[in-house]
Symmetry: C2
Subunit: 375 residues, 2 copies
């Protein structure tokens, strides 16, 4: 392959990664069964606790975020268990399917496009469902740019039914704060390559005491994703299987940078920059996919002007402007583009993306108000 | 954590990694749903075909090698299926357990310590077993340093029963050649961090036409390890889930280096250097764990002299000699040490390891013949 050109990566993960985090991957190779790795693992999981605002265990898996979600499903759902799953896009549908593959019954609560299922509808199913084992909520639908605004309330409803509350926060945690201990979230999952601005390849999971006690009682059908085994090894400073060491180094550095910035400041930054995107795109005359109350801090989805060719548009953005954005997913393919507002995103990145979008929209025959970029 | 010191890593994976491969991780972050990643994926899987000597598909998973083994088990074994598994250490026992977790019946063929189950015993079970779906062979037991010398013959026996032949070659491929097409191996699995001298975090699987046809008929219980989905995405130049991009860059570079060296030369190098280890350790008066005919090219296991404290010995090697070796595994813990002879291992590494071992054995009260180092 030819050496790829360095471009501004504005897709909803992976994100641009700082030289500081990239450089951390070059630290010395170490034996994963020795003290140096134990020290690294302790460090990175401690910093993970800060991210999740938890005093309990944080497990790190050498897999994508989806692997983390699969671990949560396989370790919690037994055949016959029911799980309520708000479905409002590709990733929440995937989650419901995983529950079914594990032998569970997924009770889907659906919504209109551009929104999320209502809290009332979700609560109704939580209250009514028999054999309810868990509530699985995708916090932020990477496929639609819609965010669930009622995590705390739905957690309360789940706990009232003594069901496990499990949140897929892969594309949100860091751009949003989820205080898992305070809210009583049992498992929260995120990925290294989104708001943490580390390379892809690691999943992080927080586990409540109840979740730990439960998973310790069973052997998971997946050995690789067996959280009991993960916890046993974690207690002695190891991982059950060879960890992706350079990615651990990078995540450790990325989490150090999160601590330096502080979580609340990172959330503020994501919120402010996302609203810059929303304001400018509206100023361009584009229609946003998500209704205002569900608009994500981290994934911005906008409808293309009529008769815009998605592939050509994004090729022009990438080839001529060196800015990489994403297309739509599933039934939104060709209809929307998506911009990631994640990780080390800053005003400069937003300016560069908006300027490129303005010029490209112009090239494709759509007038834009350049003043919107500057607001 | 303090910055780890760079030491000579002589454990059986991860291995020392060349600057060239490490540096490849710093290539630009790219969108995993774009052309740059497709080009990378095509490149690395093509080079993977050279490694496996296959013209068929090679799947790469963002997981450790164990994840690759789990993928093979979950995609082949259905409840009630029988699988013959020669068991001669920790990793082959793990494999048998995975077959059982998947609902299969594992027919274990065991052996004496320091050896592998006899070809006759394995063939007998292959011929006699009802509902035989597969034969799973760990080629090289990382836990004992014993290698199966009859892969081709056992593959023939499996094919005669129309059973799938599946080889865990995680710690061997590259140090040994396994021509999967010529022998008719259905799935062969290896890891990035052993004889390929790339960072840990990726598993590689070769798949025969028969294996592809079979896995395409079923949905695997694991979505993350669903080979059907992996193959569907591979056909369009993508991975189903976000890939660990820096590790792909590194593996691509490591496989380029394999092509430059040529597989047969790499096998020769591993064979020659392993026999240097065996000769020298015998010269030191140590007893080798593996019987001569099963001694591995890639993992050398030797018994400690009586009353040697494993932890103290390896600490001394690491702290004073900057050479990191591994201890025993399972019931060999405390009794043996293991040396990895893998990846970019060369005469200099062997000299440095043997000199360090000589001095450390001397320190622990055991006379050694230094001439053995020089042979």
């Amino acid at each position: 392959m030819s050496y790829p050109k360095r471009k501004l990566i504005m897709v909803p993960g992976p994100t641009n990664i700082s030289d500081r985090v990239m450089g951390a991957m070059l630290k010395p190779v170490i034996n994963h069964r020795g003290e140096a790795f134990s020290a690294l693992l302790k460090d990175v999981t401690e910093k993970g606790k800060y991210l999740f605002q938890t005093s309990h265990d944080v497990v790190i898996l050498s897999s994508s975020g989806t692997g983390g979600v699969e671990a949560a499903v396989w370790n919690i759902i037994k055949p016959g268990d029911a799980a309520v799953v708000p479905v409002f896009g590709e990733f929440s549908e995937r989650l419901a399917e995983m529950v079914e593959i594990a032998g569970g019954r997924a009770i889907r609560v659906r919504s209109e496009p551009g929104s999320v299922p209502s809290l009332e509808a979700v609560k109704k199913e939580i209250e009514a469902s028999k054999a309810l084992k868990a509530v699985f909520v995708v916090h932020n639908e990477t496929s639609t740019g819609c965010t669930v605004p009622y995590l705390e309330e739905v957690t309360r409803a789940a706990k009232k039914r003594s069901a496990f509350m499990i949140i897929d926060a892969i594309s949100s945690l860091g751009g949003y704060a989820i205080p898992v201990d305070r809210w009583g979230v049992d498992i929260c999952i995120t990925g290294s390559q989104k708001c943490l601005a580390a390379p892809p390849g690691l999943a992080l999971l927080s586990l409540s005491n109840e979740a730990v006690e439960y998973v310790k009682k069973y052997q998971s059908p997946s050995r690789y994703f067996d959280l009991r085994r993960q916890l046993d090894y974690l207690a002695r400073g190891e991982t059950p299987f060879t960890p992706a060491i350079p990615l651990y180094y990078a995540l450790d550095e990325a989490l150090t940078m999160l601590q330096e910035e502080r979580l609340e400041k990172r959330v503020e930054r994501h919120t402010r920059l996302a609203s810059r995107f929303y304001q400018a795109l509206t100023g361009f005359g584009l229609e946003l996919f998500a209704k205002e109350e569900f608009r994500s801090n981290t994934v911005i989805a906008a409808l293309y002007p009529k008769a815009t060719d998605d592939k050509e548009f994004r090729r022009s953005m990438s080839d001529e402007q060196d800015v990489v954005i994403a297309g739509g997913f599933g039934n939104l393919k060709g209809k929307v583009f998506r911009v990631g507002c994640m990780g080390e995103v800053n005003d400069g990145y937003v300016n560069r993306t908006l300027s490129a979008l303005a010029v490209t929209l112009h090239k494709f025959g759509h007038g834009v108000d350049l003043q919107s970029v500057l607001n």
